[in-house]
Symmetry: C2
Subunit: 363 residues, 2 copies
């Protein structure tokens, strides 16, 4: 078992990673001194796989366990699902000391986290991410949210968990497509902050795709470490935290236009990273070789790299203008400088930039 | 103009109080260095009275102003109204730098504050309370919330405003019934923390009921000062902040059973304080004279002091058991020790206590 700490003063917490951690849940939670009552929030895909194991481990450790099982998928990350959580929790007598345990991928973690942030103005919260994407990215750093029909993650809160428990063996049951979507975020960390790690991914991709535990453990903890460093510097995204959004500005536009769930978040981020890198190249911030290197690794991960052609540059730009980084009407976007470094840039006339780049990148 | 500071480290902010402050809004906001775009959230009672004045003052100071006008009343403090706010804000291009200005009473402030806490994970927020209740209580301290069909203020966040601007002259247009409801919270501060202030209210009640500005200004700032002290000690209600809930545990039960809006929050708190004081007397924490002194001042404020008789003690206790102070299944309630002091008490068998007290207090 490996562990690290996310340093956020009185909101600091530990990330633990290992194989078969679910059976040791009692011991892992013990230092948190939680109240007796816990609510496991999960979905109808994860529940049949790990629900009873988690339930058993919690009950054996003396917890009183309730659970909420939501329908799976990004299209359910909305106010309606949130209300299902609130209502169930009120009906089963959850109080301010009740702990929410998120068991699932990014959608479950984001929604359960936002429920924890807002139920009775905030209750304790533990993340047990079961997808690669959630393990390397969304479960760490305290971003919680639901989608609004007019934009992804528009309603949310910064709310830190008390612990993140990453059981790598849950990835055994993760569908290939979802595993690959998680790799998009792994690649992202290399591009924005660590060329050496990017090269390591290139060298070890076959091993990662076989889900070899040691390689997976290394990659996950490297991603968490980069993220923890950035979050410790800028918890509420006033500055450097925005770098974690590399590929997400265009990616969110793709998700929104295609319809949530039609394309996976990681897949949209893969496309978004390619577009961001092309914009970088246009601006002379990276070489075309860097773009090709990125496209190549994403392709080998089984991820899409071409932009869905059914939407116009104007539609993409309009969707991007609803991004949370837009400030005083100006589009702001993270661009890579070569591989391993990145910064945030502002665009006065995005339609011009994107019309050109998208013309090259369309299917 | 008087002012004071709520001391909350990097979340500290000022409360300013005076007559005719609305016309000076530009100067009052200037030190906050807000972005250009502001959204005024108000209701259909306050908007015709002060909407154009606020709009004008903001535009003169160079702000771009949008507004959301909600239907008035506690029964609209729900997820539906919140979605109206979110949708309007997304449609008119509000970003992370947009400031929400709450112009109205406690319902508007609570909802606008929760929208500010959750729109794009948190945006700047200013309170302009226009009811006595909001000026002495709900606009200060950062409690924001909406109601859930299963309980009042169940969904919310602790989220501090950047400034609270109390224009006492807005009380000129406040209906008598609503003004009196605000007095309930004024009396509360005397009971829980300041016997001298309680005596001052007794001595100056006629002046207060005439809305004499000097007396009003003194009462409002005394209440804000007591609240600011308590909030500075315990922002997220882990301990002493619960004292501000005196009268609210039973009061919330009355509101919930009668239907939100049928009885005003302050009226329900008045009844709740009488019940709390009677429980205190039963337990020997105060004398019957203290109870009578409290009932007397509430009566003179034009407030109800008897419990609606159409509900049984069992119904009241069931409603109270959904209170946010309930912990591990035990009812917790603030009780007064004499007048001017209070503490929180836990009840193993609330039905027994309340059956007795309610039998004496029923209509």
């Amino acid at each position: 078992m490996q562990q690290m700490k996310v340093e956020l003063a009185e909101r600091s917490y530990r990330i633990v990673q290992g194989d078969d951690l679910l059976v040791h849940l009692g011991e892992l939670l013990a230092p948190l001194q939680l109240a007796e009552h816990v609510v496991v929030i999960t979905n109808d895909v994860v529940s049949p796989l790990y629900g009873s194991q988690v339930d058993h481990a919690l009950k054996q450790a003396g917890y009183r366990v309730d659970s909420v099982i939501l329908p799976d998928g990004e299209k359910h990350k909305n106010a309606h699902s949130l209300d299902i959580i609130y209502t169930h929790m009120l009906e089963c007598g959850c109080d301010r000391k009740t702990t929410i345990i998120a068991l699932g991928g990014g959608v479950v973690g984001d929604m359960a986290g936002f429920a924890a942030a807002t139920y009775m103005r905030g209750i304790p919260f533990v993340q047990i991410p079961t997808t690669l994407l959630a393990q390397v990215d969304s479960s760490v750093g305290g971003k919680t949210a639901i989608n609004h029909p007019l934009g992804k993650n528009m309603i949310g809160a910064f709310y830190q968990p008390l612990k993140v428990i990453i059981d790598t063996s849950t990835l055994d049951t993760l569908k290939k497509r979802h595993f690959c979507a998680g790799l998009a975020e792994v690649v992202k960390y290399g591009v924005i902050a660590d060329e050496e790690f990017f090269a390591w991914i290139e060298d070890n991709l076959a091993t990662l795709l076989r889900k070899e535990p040691t390689a997976l453990g290394y990659a996950i903890m490297r991603c968490c470490s980069i993220k923890a460093d950035i979050v410790a510097q800028d918890e509420t995204e006033q500055s450097v935290r925005a770098l974690l959004n590399f590929g997400h500005t265009f990616g969110h536009a793709v998700e929104q236009l295609c319809g949530y769930g039609e394309i996976l978040h990681g897949e949209a981020v893969a496309i978004g990273m390619v577009i961001a890198a092309r914009v970088s190249a246009t601006m002379g911030l990276c070489t075309l070789d860097d773009v090709i290197r990125l496209e190549d690794i994403l392709y080998k991960c089984g991820l899409p790299t071409v932009v869905p052609a059914q939407f116009s540059p104007r539609q993409y730009v309009a969707a991007m203008m609803r991004d949370k980084k837009v400030s005083s009407g100006k589009l702001r976007m993270v661009l890579n400088r070569g591989i391993g470094s990145s910064d945030i840039y502002e665009f006065d006339n995005p339609i011009q930039v994107f019309a050109e780049v998208l013309a090259c990148a369309a299917e």
